[in-house]
Subunit: 420 residues, 2 copies
Amino acid sequence: MDGKGFIEDGALTVKNGKIVFVGKSAATTNIEAETKINAKGKVAMPGLINCHTHVPMTLFRGIAEDQPLDTWLKETIWPLEAKLRPEDVYVGALLGCLEMIKSGTTCFADMYFHEDMVAKATEKSGLRGVLAEGIIEAGHKMLGKIMFHKSVSFAKRFHGYANDRVRTMLGPHAAYSCRPDLLKKITERASELNIGVHLHLAESNTMFREFEKKYGSSEVEFLDKIGFLKNHVLAAHCINLSREDMHILSKCSVNVVHVPVANMKLGLGAAKIKDLVDLGVNVGLGTDGPASNNSLDMFETMKIAALLQKITYQNPTVMPVYEVLEMATINGAKALGLEENVGSLEVGKKADIVLVDLSKPHLKPLHNIYASIVYSARGSDVDTVIVNGKILMENRQVKTLDEQTVMEEAEKTSLDLMCR
Amino acid sequence: MDGKGFIEDGALTVKNGKIVFVGKSAATTNIEAETKINAKGKVAMPGLINCHTHVPMTLFRGIAEDQPLDTWLKETIWPLEAKLRPEDVYVGALLGCLEMIKSGTTCFADMYFHEDMVAKATEKSGLRGVLAEGIIEAGHKMLGKIMFHKSVSFAKRFHGYANDRVRTMLGPHAAYSCRPDLLKKITERASELNIGVHLHLAESNTMFREFEKKYGSSEVEFLDKIGFLKNHVLAAHCINLSREDMHILSKCSVNVVHVPVANMKLGLGAAKIKDLVDLGVNVGLGTDGPASNNSLDMFETMKIAALLQKITYQNPTVMPVYEVLEMATINGAKALGLEENVGSLEVGKKADIVLVDLSKPHLKPLHNIYASIVYSARGSDVDTVIVNGKILMENRQVKTLDEQTVMEEAEKTSLDLMCR
C-alpha cells in the first residue's frame, strides 16, 4: 500500500519492531535472523485498521436482534451497560482483541466506558489501539462534566501506553448528545493535549431532523461554527450529509469512517462515500461494535463497503478493490494520525503485518491479488499476525492470549450480567 | 427448520441416508451405530441450499473487476467462455463443489454450458444438485435450437443421476435472450418432462426498458401471457418488478431467488424481497457465479441478504434472522422442488446435515443461535458436512475430493485458458 504495487516472491525484514527491508526475496538470502517465517503461498499485507468500534460490546453480541435502534438501545443495551463493571469491560475487550487478531486487524479505534480496561486488554493482546473514553451528556449536565474529566484523565494517562502501542483521543459521543459548551470545552482540551476527537456524526435521519430543529443547522455546520472541526476529527458514520456538509468536512480535513455493516443492519442508510472521496476527504473503514454488526471481521467490512457503494451509486466501477484496501490500511492510518507508523509495508514503519493464506479453494485461481483479498478472503484466512515486530498469531495459534480462557470468561461474564 | 425450534443437547440418527430420529441425546444413548459423531460445542443444521449459481465460473474468479455488466460480459467473460472445453468445465465445477462443501452448502441449483460435466463433478463430490444446461439464443435462431435440444437431452439423461442426488431443469437464460417461440417450446417440454425451468428474471434496468419497448409489456407479464409461468419456475434476481409483476409471481407460485451479493457488486439494484414475501412468494437465496460474487459462501450471502433488505426498506425489523435461515434451507428446498427430501432436519428426510463449530471467538458469547449463524458465522466455521447420510467433510477434511489436486488443476486450467 505504498503505491509501488505488489511484489511477487518478495521478502520483508524487521529489526527492533520496524521494517528495514522490503523487496525481492533473493536480496535477503544472506541475512541472518533470529526468527524466519516462510510465507510461501501466502501474501504479506499491512495489518487491517478498524477505525470505529466499541470492542467490549462483544459481551452483547446477538443479544437483541432485528430491532429499531431506539428500542435496541433503550430496552437492552443501556440497561445492560448500566450494570457493567470495569472487570466486565476488560473481559469483553479481551474477547474483542482475540477476535481481531484472528481476523487480521492489527490496529483499532475504540470508544467506550472504563476505557482504561480496553487499554489494558490492548496491552495484553499485543494489538495497537487509539482509544477514547466516551463522553455522553444526554441532558444530565453533571454526568457530562464527570465523563469529560474521566475522558481527559484517561487520554493523558494512556497516551503512549504499552510501548506506544496505545494512543488516545477524547470521545464525545455525538453533537446531539453533548451540549455546545461541553463540545467547546472538549475542543479546547483536545487542542491543548494535541490529540484527536472521536465521535459519531450524522448517523440517523431522526436525530438529524431533531438537531436541525433545535439548533437551526446541521450537526456538521454547527460543529464547524463552534470551532470543533479544527481538531483532528475522527467521525464515524456520516450518513446524512448535505452537499454543504460534505464541503465543510473536506475543508476541515475531517477523517470519515465508513461503517457499512452496522449502518445496513440498523436500516439507517448508506453514506455517500464516493462523493466524499471526490471532494478529497480521507475515509477509513470500521465495523462498529460487535453488538450491531455482529462481527469484527474487517475482511467482511471491506467487501460489504465496496458492495454498498456500488449499489448506492448503481455503478459497479465505484470503490474499486484497491481503493477499498487503501481505506482499510493506509487511509485508516491517516484517520488515526498514525500514517508515519503504520498502514503500509515500507522501510521505517512499524512492522504491523498480516500473512493471508492463499491456498484455499475459495481463493483459487489467483487472477488478481487485490480482488482476492477484498472479495474472496475471510478473516479466517489470516495465518499470521505481527504487531510492532512481535508475532501475535502464527499458523492461527494466538500467542499472547489463551483462547479458551478468554472465551470462557466472556461467556461467564455475559451470563452473569444477564442475571445481575 | 421444521418449525419446532432449537433442541439443546440434541441428537440425530441416520439410517440408509435418511434421518430416523431427531430429539434429545438422552434418548439415543443405547443406540448402536456404525459411525458416531460427537458434536459437542457444535450446532447441527440443515445443509445450506444455494438456489442460483454457475459453479464452473470459479475459473474466472477475480479476472475482471469493478466493471459494468456489459463490458464485463463482452470483453472478458464471453470471449473466455467461447474457448471453454468440457474438461475445463469439469475442473471448474470440481473447485466450486469443493468450495461449497468447505462452506456448508449441501445442495445447489446450477445453470451453465457442458452441464453434464457439472453433473459429473456433483456426482464425484457427493453434493446434491439441481442442474440445467443453459439455453441462450441472443439473435441466433439456430444456436437457440441446438441449445434447446442439448438442454432437453441433458435434463432427460441426468434426472435422478448419482443415486438421485442430481435432478434437472431446463435452463432458458432469460426472457430477453430467447425468442417467444423458443420460450413456448421450453414451456411445453418442461411440462411434458415434469421438470422445472431455471432462468434469470428482471435482472437489469436497461434490459427491462429494452424488453418493454420491444414487447409492450414487462418480462413477467410477457412470460405469464405465453403460459411460461405455469411450470415450476426458479427465477433468479427479480430486481425490476412492478407491483403488478409481483402479483403475477405470487399468483403463479414462481420461486424467486434473491442474489444480494452479485446484484450489489454489479450495481444493479435491490430486489424488494419483503414485498414478495408479504404476497406469499417463496424466496430462496443464491450466490450467483463466483466470477460475480466472488465467493460461494452461503453464510456470507445470508448475512448480506438480511443487511440489504434492512437498508432497502430503512427498517431493521425486515428479514429477521429466522426468516433468512428459512430462505437458505427449507424455502430453498421448496424452490428446487425438493422440500420432501431436504431443507430441514426431520424424520424421513435425507440426511443433508452440517455441523457448525461454535467454539470460536467471533461466535462467543452465544445468546441467540439463529443470530450467531446468520450474522456472525462464516463458511469456515463449518466442521462437518453430510449429504445423503454420507460424510463429505469431517473436522474440515474433505473426504470425497483431493483438495490440493482440485486447486492445482483449476489454477492450471485457468492459466491455460488465458493463453489459449
